[in-house]
Amino acid sequence: MSNLTIRGARKAYGATVALRRGDLDLREGEVHVLIGSNGSGKSTLCKIVSGSVRPDAGEVLIDGKTVSIDGPRAARALGLATFYQELSLAAHRTVAENISLPELPGKGGFFVDRERLNGIAERYIRRFADVAGEGFSADARVEHLREDQRQLVEIMKTLATEAPILIFDEPTSSLDRSQVERFFEVLRELKAQGRAIIFISHRMDEIFAIGDRVTVIRDGETVGTSLISETKPASIIHQMVGESELAVTNGAPPAAAEVKTEAVLSVAGLSAKGFVNVSFEVRRGEILGFGGLHGQGQSAVLRSIFGVNPTDQGTIHIKGEKRTIRSPREAIRCGLAYISGDRGRDGVVHGRPILENVTPIHFLRNKLSLVRPGSLRERAAKPLSALKTRFAGYDQPVNALSGGNQQKIVIARWLIDRPDVLLLDDPTKGIDLQAKTDLFALIRSLAAEGMGIVLYSSEDAELLANADRILVFNSGSVSRELTGADRTRYNLYHAAYEAA
């Protein structure tokens, strides 16, 4: 029941091919590591296995029989259970209830059998009892637990399904050393029972500690599978980068801009939810890149600087002056701009005319109270044309535009009155190639005019091509700074996976 084979899986979202040819061969009694950079197709493949995404082509076999996984329920029925990275716990319920949430033990077809519920919970809690920390018990409410304890509940919930095939997507991100080791002990026991485990992690040491085999995915294709015992971190990273890429970028990373001006933004010892002790400086004319795998604290840092999320510790200086920023309003007044790639959530004012979409920052920075549409149109024209935005008129609803043009409208909003620092939070997510080119051309020219720019991009190629300096994030802190000729894909992955 636990041999899973995927052959030639393909998945496209519109024109974007997320997975070109995904192959995976999972055997019973192994921990199989899945590894790939951002956008490699790793998570799409994982979603196909867990049933949350249906492939356009290719086949899935369990023990040699073709199956189709039509959704999470079907996946469960086929013996697959998935640990989700973004925790899916019921906060107001107890640990015991959460552990059995996928299949509550019933009584009389209607009532919950509380004895069995607690029995199941105790069985899993006991395994982690000495490492779980204070306050962790079967009847504790999840909302009162710490982050690492919640992650343990999520792990137990996955284990409690007793499924023959288990998929763990970044299960250790908040766990401490002893918790990880205990978790690995449990995984080894499961292996011995003949279960099959897919393991995704961004920590090379963990991969080498627990993995039996590793499958590398690059650009939507499975590159190959090797035995962990016969490979080493450097060669896995070589596989992720690809030979051709190695040859090209080893030669010459794009020349970094000559920057010798004062720091326009400096951050020291900044800590908050999602990252610890981050320090950096951005000078005028510089594009500072934030790199690494998704969700290692890059966005959280930008959002904290901008006053969206509270900061616990650290100082922020803007143009040499110490600032305490508690809200985006204050950040804007200090000369910061923040552009999120999630334009649907963070940018576009849906259904409203373009004019209303480009103006809010201008109103705030100039303390206006009356709207003069004529003068607004004139002011907005410059950034909009600099971005080569295509639109019919200022009264056109913003949703009538293409994704790329919508994003340009949102960006133009921030440029009508020039900010000193531009914080870009994965700004090109889901926009077309032309729009990306236009955007980066503009960003470079804004930098040349003296703006300081922080660019977080989940697209590594974009980052390598545009950033003068790159800070690589790993688990909420900067693991390495890449400058000059060091800005290669190899070094980026190396730092992202904390390879030894």
């Binding site: 985006p328 804007i332 004012v349 809010p360 109103f363 709207v371 609803p397 009538a400 293409s402």
Partner: protein, 330 residues
């Protein structure tokens, strides 16, 4: 993707279905049809005097609906169920402050608007700072106001309207129209100005259609939302004052009848309950339409409870047509 597609279709195609999606136009056509229907049912229904009377009643409703409109535009399930209570309270305050004397008009206006604004501000604070859902907050406030009304009244007859106020509401003032209709027109112009030509108005639409984006763009989201509730209370207070001018003296819970119709007028006028789009011009048409409908129902001898049922059902049917643009809960 679907939103983009819908937007494109709206911009390019002109068809009957698109025409039906223009709520203002639909409302105007319906007004004419309903007037004709009323005239058929009861000759004299659409006579000039009768239409004038309908317009006065519509103006009273329209003033309440102006505040309701603002709260709904602000989104996040914004709704003000307390307007009826504020209208009743304000009518009592107005009656007692004026007590039949013209000299009391100015103090009465100040007292009514201030009291309305005060209760509205409480609503706003509850909704923003205490994070109570608007439905619950304003319903609770309605309960408080109802209790307050019982305490205040205590069997004492509430005051009378000043003659000048009654005249303002019922007698022709300019071009054969009473002052209250001119007041309503003025409010209509001010609302249009507020929503289309002020930064405040732009921000109301911004928080109504994407609060997160507005927040990131430095819009003071809470302050705006509180002021919407404040304005709603103030408009209801003003309406209570005008109402006593129309009725002469205040009677029990006179304002209750405004809660549901004020919401229906807004939705009829093309502002979806999800907020972020629409405006006051449509609401004005909605108020007129609703008052005519009410009058027709009275003409065919449907009593108050029957009318309430019909209004409730109307709102639900409207939700089917206009409320589906976006899901109510994000």
């Amino acid at each position: 993707m679907s939103v983009e597609a819908a937007g494109k279709a709206e911009a390019s195609r002109f068809s009957l279905t698109n025409l039906i999606r223009q709520p203002l136009l639909v409302a105007l056509v319906l007004i004419v049809l309903l007037l004709a229907l009323g005239e058929m049912l009861s000759p004299g229904f659409a006579s000039p005097q009768q239409i004038l009377r309908l317009l006065i009643v519509a103006a009273l409703l329209g003033i309440v609906a102006a505040g309701q409109n603002l709260v709904i535009l602000g989104g996040r399930e914004g709704i003000d169920l307390s307007v009826g209570g504020i209208v009743s309270l304000s009518a009592i305050i107005a009656g007692n402050v004026m007590n039949g004397a013209d000299s009391g008009i100015l103090p009465a206006i100040l007292a009514c608007v201030a009291a309305g604004a005060l209760f509205g501000t409480f609503n706003g604070i509850g909704v923003t700072l205490l994070r109570i859902p608007p439905l619950v907050m304003t319903l609770g406030m309605l309960g408080v106001l109802q209790g307050l009304l019982v305490v205040i009244r205590q069997g004492v007859p509430s005051g009378r309207a000043a003659p000048a106020l009654s005249e303002f509401v019922t007698r022709p003032f300019l071009l054969g129209l009473p002052g209250i209709i001119w007041l309503w027109v003025l409010i209509g112009l001010l609302m249009a100005f507020l929503l289309r030509r002020t930064v405040f108005g732009y921000r109301v639409y911004a928080i109504g259609s994407n609060e997160q984006a507005a927040f990131l763009a430095g819009v003071p989201v809470r302050l705006i939302r509180i002021s919407l509730f404040t304005l709603s209370g103030a408009f209801a207070g003003l309406a209570g004052l005008c109402l006593i001018g129309y009725a002469g003296s205040s009677f029990a819970n006179v304002g209750e009848l405004y809660m549901l119709p004020s919401i229906i007028a807004v939705v009829l006028g093309g502002t979806p309950l999800s907020g972020g789009k629409g405006g006051y011009t449509g609401t004005m048409a909605g108020a007129v339409l609703l008052v005519i409908l009410q009058s027709i129902l009275t003409t065919i001898n449907i009593d108050e409870s029957g009318r309430q049922m019909i209004f409730g059902a109307t709102l639900l049917v409207l939700m089917l047509f206009y409320g589906r643009g976006r899901a109510m809960r994000a």
